[in-house]
Assembly symmetry: C2
Homo-oligomer: 424 residues x 2
């Protein structure tokens, strides 16, 4: 690279003496060569019209479409129909934006008024060469290179000002720039102060907009995410905010001489939990968490649900609560119809009928695997199983002795099975 | 850099029409800026000799050194003395490497034999313009730009081959390239198959090397991290691997036509938990987790401890177990001496004597905050507290009525306090 640049300098110096068209072409070629493996076109990837599940190295969506093949998600491609707004493109918001971009979200709206500083480099996403750019510009630069299929809209503004709030509200309601959708499907709040959260709350209450709130403590060691559905769950004004107990208070950030601590780990985990919850909500799989806390010092993850406060000080919240109460008969009827439809479907068709993958996994070593899992079950906590290293070389273990309940016996039994595997 | 090259191209194109000496000088300046140490300094940042806690936008370490000021970590700067080896620079390993780099780790050793493909773009870290590069080269390119203070050593090799294993073992024992340390302080396994994990296990058992294992399920919706201390905890061969139950089996990855699913969320969360556990281990704060699972469908995080298996098939593990047993009297004596020292220190000095920050937070609204937390305590799960939006404008609430234990009463009380805040 440096040699190339030296050569360029020599050419330029020569050019000063005697302009020469051939040398200009030579320099052009050199610059293009420095821009990527085989030129500028290869530097980023071209747009992809339809998501494909084809298992080839050149397909950026193969590992995502596999979620569908495995029966985790019914229709992964629907992600392209969704629009998500991210308010605050800092330590959590920027990583959330990158995750959604890499997942192939249809449209991302980004809001921030800040610029990139070297002091942000202890969190993921921004690079030192972006220092001085607005966070929204820097994010668009990075995200559009990662996935050109995502429609990016960025707003460098402060939503807590009157004008900023108007633009914010307008953009959440507007038709997308490609005309494919109106409004957004989810708002993610990734801001670092109470005022901005209250503004997001106000906008979402007014627009009947489901949103998720996130936060990281000022001592960098805890955080949380929270789902807010206007009228159905507590809004952000229904009660003082719920945070993970870890000793330090967030609002001191803005005081003189006090600098909040932050870690790429805590912020990465919170962004991951936030976008995972968003994917579950949008693509309808798993259980969407109403509240999930993260205490990193103890690796403790408290959860809870919060109902709306009938005395909430936010008038829009009270309106949404009233609407939600009034729609109860319709909701109940819909839920009943859905349950009945599912019950009859379950009788007629086996679940995951085309899920070949799961079937091939278990094949004929099925029985042996289950017996090992049973043997280990009494010493394992809920939700954990032992995984055998290689089913293909699995050897039927000798009949297990009547369980004595002692850990050593279980381990011995597991060990015999493992030895059989290792020796085969 | 790429912008500069684009600008250069535009200038060259213009030059073809009408030679212009000023444009040549402009291009020359651009080339010089892109060159060598002084040029690199403009695009990326220069090295920093000592970590500073100064709160200025230009300090990339201010938010990390704040951990020390807040009493979370005793000596954050010690991170520069540590070397961490990351085996497998894929969806988990690359993000773990970026987190440690941004945290300012002293030295990172990276191992992988794979190249970057577009099919990796659904996970964080690698960029489309790096397709075709080895993962270790691409990682060094990105990480050295993010933080030039980190010493990076990369090994593009397969540790499961005889030659690869030799190089791996040798590099773990070697003196660092800057001569500051010998050996590594922690090995992180971020590989995607059983064989490679067994190889890491073998090397760490031989070298008495503490390591952490990580894994993500083939259906992309669960994962885990595990701490392994040779002789003290179960090694990877002591029992079949423990994974989070989520339905799909990892070993099918290598079968024909089966493509594992992956998500940037799950991998980002696992990388975050892994590096958080690493920071707690290296910098001695919080509780280091022996095992932490992540079931993303239910947001469930199982934990457990695993003792070594006295019948383990790995001879090196048995040796380490024997050593650990033999060193018990010395360990007990050391633990007793430490406890006694801490007990006498606690009498002589107040804890966190120079932690001004915590003191200023609580100041005179201390009593009011605690009373609110008490009022909310009976409806909150363990580990969660309500946070008041602004202590400065806090108004002493009317005396709380005798608690009836009903949720509505508590919410009403909280609401009164919140209203007082909002109206002030």
């Amino acid at each position: 690279m440096e040699e190339e640049l030296h050569a360029l300098l020599r050419d330029l110096d020569a050019l000063k003496q005697l302009p020469d068209p051939a040398s200009i072409d030579r320099m052009r070629d050199r610059v293009v060569k420095m821009m990527g493996p085989s030129g500028a076109a290869a530097a980023t990837r071209s747009k992809i019209k339809d998501m494909s599940a084809e298992v080839v190295d050149s397909n950026p969506y193969s590992r995502l479409m596999a979620l569908q093949r495995m029966g985790i998600v019914d229709n992964y491609e629907r992600i392209r129909d969704y629009s998500v707004a991210i308010v605050g493109v800092g330590g959590v918001g920027s990583v959330a934006a990158e995750m959604l971009t890499r997942c192939g979200i249809g449209r991302l709206l980004l809001y921030d008024y800040d610029t990139v500083e070297l002091a942000n480099m202890n969190r993921l996403f921004f690079r030192p060469d972006q220092v001085g750019m607005t966070k929204t510009d820097a994010a668009v630069q990075t995200l559009s290179e990662i996935n050109p299929d995502v429609v990016l809209e960025s707003y460098s503004l402060n939503i807590t000002t009157v004008k900023g709030f108007e633009t914010f509200l307008g953009s959440l309601k507007a038709r997308s720039s490609n005309g494919r959708s109106t409004g957004v499907d989810l708002v993610l709040s990734c801001v670092d102060n109470y005022e901005a959260r209250m503004v997001v709350n106000q906008a979402c209450n007014e627009l009947r907009q489901t949103w998720m709130e996130s936060g990281v403590s000022e001592d960098a060691v805890s955080g949380h995410i929270q789902l807010l559905v206007p009228g159905e769950t507590a809004c952000f004004a229904c009660a003082p905010p719920l945070v993970v107990a870890s000793g330090v208070d967030e609002r001191t950030l803005k005081r003189d001489g006090v600098c909040a601590a932050s870690l790429p780990t805590t912020m990465g985990v919170v962004a991951g939990l936030l976008v995972q919850n968003s994917l579950k909500y949008l693509l309808k799989f798993g259980q969407v968490s109403p509240y999930l806390g993260y205490n990193s010092l103890k690796d403790f993850f408290p959860t809870m649900e919060m109902r709306p406060n009938p005395q909430c000080s936010n008038p829009a919240c009270l309106e949404r609560q009233k609407e939600y109460m009034q729609s109860k008969p319709a909701r109940d009827a819909a839920a009943k119809a859905k349950m009945e439809a599912e019950a009859s479907a379950a009788i007629e068709y086996p679940v995951h009928v085309d899920n070949e993958w799961n079937i091939s996994v278990l094949d004929d070593s099925d029985t042996a695997t289950s017996s090992v899992q049973r043997a280990a079950a009494d010493i394992l906590p809920e939700g954990l199983v032992r995984e055998l290293p290689d089913e293909d070389s699995y050897v039927e273990p000798p009949a297990a002795p009547a369980s004595s309940g002692a850990i050593d016996d279980d381990l011995e039994e597991l060990q015999r099975q493992l030895d059989a595997l290792n020796s085969s």
